[in-house]
Structures are given as C-alpha cells and as structure tokens.
C-alpha cells in the first residue's frame, strides 16, 4: 500500500510539474487544477459515499466568499484561507447532519442540496444594498466582491502567490488532497464509508452510525470544495454569486460523471478535459458550448455510465487487486436500491 501510494505520488508530482511545460497557458492550467480539486470533492462523496449532492457549488461558493470576506477583514490572508476552509466544512456538516439524520436519500437529497444552493444564490444576488456588510466587506450582490488581498508566501508577506507560484501551490494542494483521500479510503473510515454505500442497512445492523459517517464524509467533501473555492478566489481575484449557480453545480457533476465517479482520478481527469474543452470552445462561434457539454453528458450516461477512467482502467490493469474497497458507481446504486427495499 505504502509503496503504491509513493508511486502514485511520484507520478502525480511528475505530471503536475511537467504540465506547465506542455501547456503554455499557466493561467488556464491553474484554474483547471482548481476545478480538478472541486471535482475530486464531489467524486469522493458521490463515488465512495454514494451521496449525489446537487449543490457542491454551495461549498465552492462559500469557500470563495469566505476567503474574500475574511481577507478584507483580517490582515493576514492565511487566516482568511483558514476561515474559508472552516466555513464550508461547518456548513456541510450542519447540512449533512440535517440530511442524514433526517434519513433523506436519493432524489430527496438531491432536491434539498439543490434548494439550499438556490437559496444561497438568490440571497447573494440580492445583497447589492449598502446594508449587506460583513465587517468591512460589502457583499455586493450580483456584481460580487472584487479587490480583496490574495495569498502571500507564508514566510514573506510581500510576495504574492500569482502565476507560476499560484499554480504550483494549487497543484500541491490537489496532489495532497488526492493522496489524503486515497489514504482515507484505505483506512477503516473509508472502508466503512464504502460499506455504507454498498449496503446502508447492513452497516447499520452491524453497529455503525451511518448518519455520523455520512455526515463526516459530506463535511470532508464540503471542506475540499471550499478549499477549491478559496483557490478560485485567489485565481480570479473576484467572487460573484455565479459561483453558487445551478450551472456551476451542473458542471461539477458533469466533470465527475464523464471522468468516472468510481475512482479518485476520474473526476480530476473529467475536470481537466472538460474545463479545457470549454476554454477552447470559447475561441470559436460555430457550435454553442452548452450544446456540446450537454450532449457529452447524455452520451456518457447512455454509453459510458461508469465514466472514462473506470472504463479505461481494465485495459491498463489486467486484474484488479482483489481486496480493494473500490467499486463502481453503477453497481453501488443498484445495491442502494436493494437496501431501500429491504428496509
């Protein structure tokens, strides 16, 4: 296990270091890395926890707004970064507790997460007035919050993290998040989480508090999404309510399903491929971008329901490691359905 982790860490590091040399546009590469982290956060809770959250954008937006607001109010942007992790994690924990202790699942869970995101979106959109202020930070409504201080080097507060340094910082965080989740999934917590995804009832009947485990997983997902929001705020140097929008949530889900929800690598690949595609589509006017993205989603669901990476994996790995706790999304859904009937 350790050797394998070290191996994938080395490969990941190599890819992320080499990428800027192959891809001349570091700025776009940075945002793709950030999207990769965002997709990873949903890939974790969906692929391994069986929780399809339609509102991952809520945590993304909260992370970004949390950073912007805290950065305006506190002198040190690293405090702001910390705040921007805590807020979405707490919010996810509270929302998750509400969902899972209330036994909401499937489509009902989807509706509630979607509605919560819509509430945040509508609220943020209607904060243009002077009265909406947190400390020194005006929320700004539809136009969002521009002009906050971004991250600096921890040992030198006069050097900003921009361009290459911001990219390497994002790449490092993505790599750490990926390895951290890999470790977590091989640890008891992760194995229990997968067990719950496979059969919630069974997990409960052997004595696991399913509600607690799912809430924790949801909070971890929320925190990672928040972290990507924080990085996004550093990259864009402006935050707007569009971060909370339905189309943002849709995009995250599309990245994950196209890349493959059953693996950790899949969502990252999905985000990179589709993020880059969207960027290139913006340079032509022949075909509408949404049309392309939507069609890709339909085709993926119909023909590649497991996503790119899990479909391709067997070609690279002839035999699966037998004891690994990984499954794939499609079967997971089936057994969840069975579990529900059993109840």
């Amino acid at each position: 296990m350790l050797r394998e982790t070290a191996f994938s860490a080395a490969i990941g590091l190599a890819i992320l270091v080499v990428a800027p040399l192959l891809f001349d546009d570091i700025y776009t590469l940075t945002v793709l890395t950030i999207y990769g982290l965002l997709a990873l956060s949903l890939g974790f809770i969906w692929g391994f926890g069986g929780i399809l959250c339609f509102g991952q954008a809520a945590f993304f937006g909260l992370g970004a707004y949390g950073f912007a607001i805290a950065s305006i109010n506190f002198a040190d942007p690293w405090i702001a970064a910390l705040v921007s992790l805590i807020i979405p994690a707490l919010f996810a924990a509270v929302l998750g507790a509400m969902l899972f202790y209330g036994r909401l699942s499937d489509v009902y869970l989807a509706v509630v997460t979607l509605v919560v995101t819509l509430i945040l979106f509508k609220f943020m959109n209607s904060t243009a007035g002077n009265a909406y202020k947190i400390g020194d930070a005006r929320l700004g409504g539809f136009n969002g919050i521009p002009g906050f201080d971004t991250l600096t080097l921890p040992w030198d507060s006069s050097e900003y993290l921009i361009n290459e340094s911001l990219y390497y910082f994002c790449a490092l965080i993505l790599l750490l998040a990926f390895l951290g989740l890999r470790w977590l999934l091989s640890a008891p917590f992760g194995r229990i989480l997968v067990g719950i995804r496979e059969n919630e009832l069974r997990a409960e009947l052997v004595g696991y508090d399913v509600r607690l485990v799912k809430t924790l997983a949801f909070a971890i997902g929320g925190m990672l999404a928040g972290m990507s929001g924080m990085l996004f705020a550093n990259w864009a140097e402006i935050v707007t309510p569009a971060l909370f929008s339905l189309s943002q949530s849709a995009e995250i889900i599309i990245w994950v399903i196209v890349g493959g929800a059953g693996s950790l690598l899949g969502p990252i690949v999905g985000a990179f491929v589709l993020g880059a595609l969207k960027f290139f589509l913006g340079q032509q006017t022949l075909v509408n971008n949404l049309f392309v993205l939507g069609s890709i989603l339909v085709v993926t669901v119909l023909f590649l329901p497991r996503g790119i990476v899990p479909t391709l994996t067997p070609f690279f790995k002839r035999h699966r490691r037998r004891s690994r706790a990984a499954g794939n999304g499609k079967r997971g859904r089936g057994s969840r359905r069975r579990a529900r009937h059993a109840r």
Binding site: V194, E198, N199, E204, L205, G207, Y208, R331, S335
Partner: protein
C-alpha cells in the same frame, strides 16, 4: 424480580395506519436460550424483528435488552448492545469481498489488528476461505447466506436474530446451518424465524407461535406441533 433476561418485550404493539401488525406481545428470552418463532405469513414475525433491531419503533410497549430499556433507540445502538441479525434476503455489501464484509463487521468494536484475526477465524469456521476475496455478488445464494452469518458472528453478539436461515438452502447446506446455529448458541442467545418445521425440530427446544400479531402460544416444540390450535392456524381453519 428474577434476573434480567437477555431480551424481554412488554406489551409491544405496532400499528401502521389502521392496521395492527403486533398487539401486546410479551416475549422473554433467557441467556443462552435458543427460541424459534413460527407462524403463518403476516403473523407479525418480521415486524417483531424490525422492532427488536430498532428499524421500527413500537407504537406502544417497551423492549429491554439485559434489563435495559432500549425502546426507540437507533439500530446501530442496538447492534452495539450485542444484537446481530441475519435478514431474510441476504443483506450483504454486494461489490465487496466476503473478507471485507466480515472485516467491516468485526472492525466495529475491535481494533484493525483484532478485526483481521476475527475475520480469519470466522472465514475458517464457516469454511469460506477459498472464496474470501471474491465479490459477494458473484457467490451462490447458500454462500451468501453464510457470508451474512459470518458478518453476524464477527460482531460477537450476545443475541442473534435469524430470519429464515434455511430458506433456499440445499440439504447439505441445511445441515451445515444447523451446526453453525448450535455453535453460535454456545456464546449467544438466538431467536430464529423459520417455516420449515423439520428444521425447527432439529434445533429448538421451545417455540413461540405468532398469529395475527399476537403470541398464540409458547411451549416445547413437540407440544406445539401436537397443538390443534397451531395446526388450525397453519391450515387456516380459524382464520
């Protein structure tokens, strides 16, 4: 008052809307006892099990585990008090291996190292070692039943509930099941719902008969089988 029983229910009643599924069920199980529940379909046996495992909360009445009131507490908390259940349709984690299934159960109350040991032990006792790393979904029905039993065993329960453990098994598998049940009974009290009277006879001393949500009678197995009232219930004369 005599010593606490491992399980006792007092006047448990369960209603769904206008339908009464259980009515005033008083049930007592001593430590180390093995009891069979019989009764026609719809007699309330499964509902009773669901109440015992916390999946349902009784409309009235209370449930005591080792003298402690456990009415209305959550299923996982009941499991942690040493109650293990094998459901009627095998409830296992389908895309995981038998090993992983059993390990997850063992890990609940044990350290990872201890769980590894328990898992190996259980796999050996159930003779599942050669298929330990196969995906459970690919196993035959009988093996899946055993895996589920393994899940129950790995949790080291003090009370085991088995819902039709012999259903769908071949003759050979039934024999093995009987042996496993006796083995389980060495450390735990058992409640077994079963239709197959032959099977019941081979394992139980005392039988409780459910009918229309009530306890019809509770007696030694031979007495029950001789009881005309029980036969009527099964043949439906009084219904």
């Amino acid at each position: 008052m005599h010593a606490d029983a491992i399980l006792e229910t007092r006047a448990v009643t369960m209603r769904f809307g206008g339908v009464t599924a259980l009515e005033n069920v008083d049930f007592r199980l001593e430590n180390d006892e093995l009891r069979c529940l019989i009764g026609p379909n719809g007699a309330g046996k499964s509902t009773f099990f669901k109440c015992l495992t916390g999946l349902l909360t009784p409309s009235e009445g209370s449930i005591y585990l080792q003298g402690e009131d456990c009415t209305g507490i959550h299923p996982h908390a009941i499991a942690r008090r040493g109650v293990g259940i094998k459901t009627q349709v095998p409830s296992v984690m389908n895309t995981l291996s038998a090993h992983e299934n059993i390990w997850l159960s063992a890990r609940q109350a044990q350290s990872s190292r201890e769980a590894n040991r328990t898992t190996a032990e259980v796999l050996e006792r159930l003779d599942l070692e050669d298929i330990a790393y196969d995906e459970v979904a690919t196993l035959a029905h009988g093996k899946r039943q055993l895996v589920e039993l393994g899940i129950v065993m790995a949790g080291r329960p003090s009370l085991v509930l088995l819902d039709e453990p012999a259903a769908g098994l071949t003759g050979e598998e039934v024999e093995r099941m009987v042996a496993v049940i006796h083995e389980l009974n060495r450390d735990a009290a058992l409640v077994i719902v079963e239709h197959d009277m032959h099977f019941v006879r081979s394992i139980a001393k005392t039988v409780t008969v459910f009918h229309q949500g009530r306890v019809l009678t509770e007696a030694p197995v031979d007495a029950v089988m001789a009881d005309p009232a029980v036969r009527d219930v099964y043949l439906g004369k009084r219904a």
